[in-house]
């Protein structure tokens, strides 16, 4: 029933150190095809780094990454990243390109689509996020919420099997958060496989299928949202929840 060609994603025993700083200390994370996993935890717990390791923006020191059950560590990392869309806290739209060019760039240069076809597909994606009318604007002339929706369209245009969201609403003004979260919820309902690093506990609780609580580079607790939010078992999670809720 999925609108997307999504796949499952698994990180197994992922380790990463920067010098003596052991950022990830054996992380296991599994996202079932078509489901949403949210990752919560205090700042500096390694959540954002985990995303970057799982699409190999940073190579793990140890461990394995499986997409649809197959290890992708030996694949070309650029090709792997074409299969995993990513949305950033700071949007990271390309300011020297128009909105539609932001979305069509990868279609033209990586998918090798002819310009008109790439533009048509990009416009379709922009329509999906409600910003077709901004196609020829520059990112700088858009609000933060609009920019983030363009960034989501840019990632979706590549028809990824998995989507990563790295604190996608943290840089937004409060009144703009809702629109972006609604769009993310929409994708989740549509059957996209998603890993969502977030500080939005409401989203984590209501939209995700599993919640993973990270602290100090390890997974402290994970499970379905009811369990994590209503019945936290570890003291660390209880403490974190009482701080943020």
């Amino acid at each position: 029933m999925s609108e997307f060609a999504s796949g499952s994603l698994t990180g197994k025993n992922l380790h990463l150190s920067f010098g003596s700083n052991h950022v990830l200390r054996g992380i296991d994370l599994h996202v079932e095809k078509g489901t949403t996993a949210s990752v919560i935890g205090p700042s500096g717990s390694g959540k954002s780094t985990l995303l970057r390791v799982m699409n190999r923006l940073i190579e793990p020191d140890q461990g394995d990454i499986l997409l649809d059950g197959r290890s992708v560590l030996k694949d070309n990392p650029d090709e792997l990243r074409q299969r995993i869309g990513m949305v950033f806290q700071q949007f990271n739209l390309f300011p020297h390109k128009t909105v539609v060019d932001n979305v069509s760039l990868a279609l033209r240069k990586l998918r090798k689509l002819p310009a008109e076809q790439a533009r048509a597909e990009a416009l379709e994606q922009l329509d999906l996020v409600g910003l077709k009318h901004k196609a020829d604007a520059r990112p700088a002339n858009l609000s933060g919420g609009q920019q983030q929706r363009v960034a989501i369209a840019r990632a979706l245009a590549m028809k990824p099997e998995v989507m990563f969201f790295d604190e996608a609403t943290s840089a937004l003004d409060p009144e703009l958060v809702k629109g972006v979260l609604a769009l993310m919820a929409d994708l989740a309902k549509g059957g996209m496989t998603m890993v969502v690093v977030t500080h939005e506990m409401g989203f984590s609780r209501n939209v995700s299928d599993t919640v993973t609580f990270m602290d100090g580079g390890v997974v402290v607790e994970s499970g379905p949202p009811e369990q994590i939010f209503t019945n936290p078992r570890t003291e660390r999670l209880q403490g974190f929840l009482s701080d943020v809720l």
Binding site: I84, L93, A106, S143, Q146, G179, A182, D186
Partner: protein, 254 residues
């Protein structure tokens, strides 16, 4: 009054200036522009290579770029022109039979300009937020494609003013080619002014040369200011409220 007349005569003898003007326009101006533009273009190409090397993840390339830049930025232009022009001149003459000093002068100016332009490009590239490279790589672009399509175009834009300044320097430094010996039709602005001044014992032709340089450089200086202002203020027009946020498709009721 005699002293003042003498001074005016020395610097602003209009007849002496007018006499030198045809040669200035016919030979001086185009030759100066040929030197400055060709070494500017070549310097940009070599400078970009140096900048990409200087921001590379490979240590050896960074070092190579560093050493080159330190050497050619640290040596006076006159030394480089003399060493290249006089050192390679005979070799070129023997192998090609050409005695034209222009290629070697352009080569020398290029080598120096590249060191400065490389630094300008490098600072521009490094001023682009890390997230830009990250976003491009996350889409699946290789490091090289990301630099070419995303990072470098933004970096260049930010350093356009510095680049124009460098071109102004090239226009002025091109005068040093006179050291290599020029035949009549090869003379550029300075040499024409200087020759006429030496011939007449009056400095006015040299002042005319100065005016010619100013005609070239002053508009460029203002172009720099204009670009600088555009880059600073020209971008954001008007922030639109996020009116569509609540209306989007099926996501309106999560």
């Amino acid at each position: 009054m005699d002293a003042l007349d003498q001074l005016v005569k020395t610097f602003f003898d209009w007849e002496a200036m007018a006499a030198v003007l045809p040669n200035m326009i016919r030979f001086g101006l185009p030759n100066t522009l040929i030197l400055a533009v060709s070494s500017g273009v070549l310097g940009c190409i070599l400078g970009m290579v140096l900048a990409v090397m200087g921001t590379s993840r490979i240590t050896a390339l960074r070092w190579l770029s560093r050493i080159y830049t330190d050497v050619f930025r640290g040596v006076p232009a006159i030394v480089v022109i003399l060493l290249i022009g006089l050192g390679l001149g005979p070799v070129v003459r023997v192998t090609t039979g050409s005695t034209n000093p222009f290629p070697l002068a352009i080569f020398a100016l290029t080598l120096m300009a590249a060191a400065y332009i490389g630094e300008i490009f490098r600072s521009g590239i490094q001023s682009v937020e890390k997230g830009q490279l990250e976003a491009s790589r996350a889409l699946g672009f290789s490091y090289g494609s990301s630099m070419r399509l995303v990072v470098i175009p933004q970096g260049i834009r930010r350093v356009l003013p510095a680049l124009v300044n460098q071109f102004i320097t090239l226009i002025k430094d091109s005068s040093l080619i006179y050291l290599l010996g020029l035949i009549t039709s090869q003379r550029e602005i300075f040499r024409i002014g200087n020759d006429a001044a030496a011939l007449t014992g009056n400095l006015s032709p040299l002042v005319a040369a100065a005016f010619m340089y100013l005609i070239l450089t002053v508009p460029l200086t203002h172009l720099v200011n204009y670009i600088d202002k555009r880059l600073r203020t020209g971008r954001p027009e008007k922030q639109q409220p996020d009116d569509a946020a609540a209306l989007i498709g099926k996501g309106a009721q999560p």
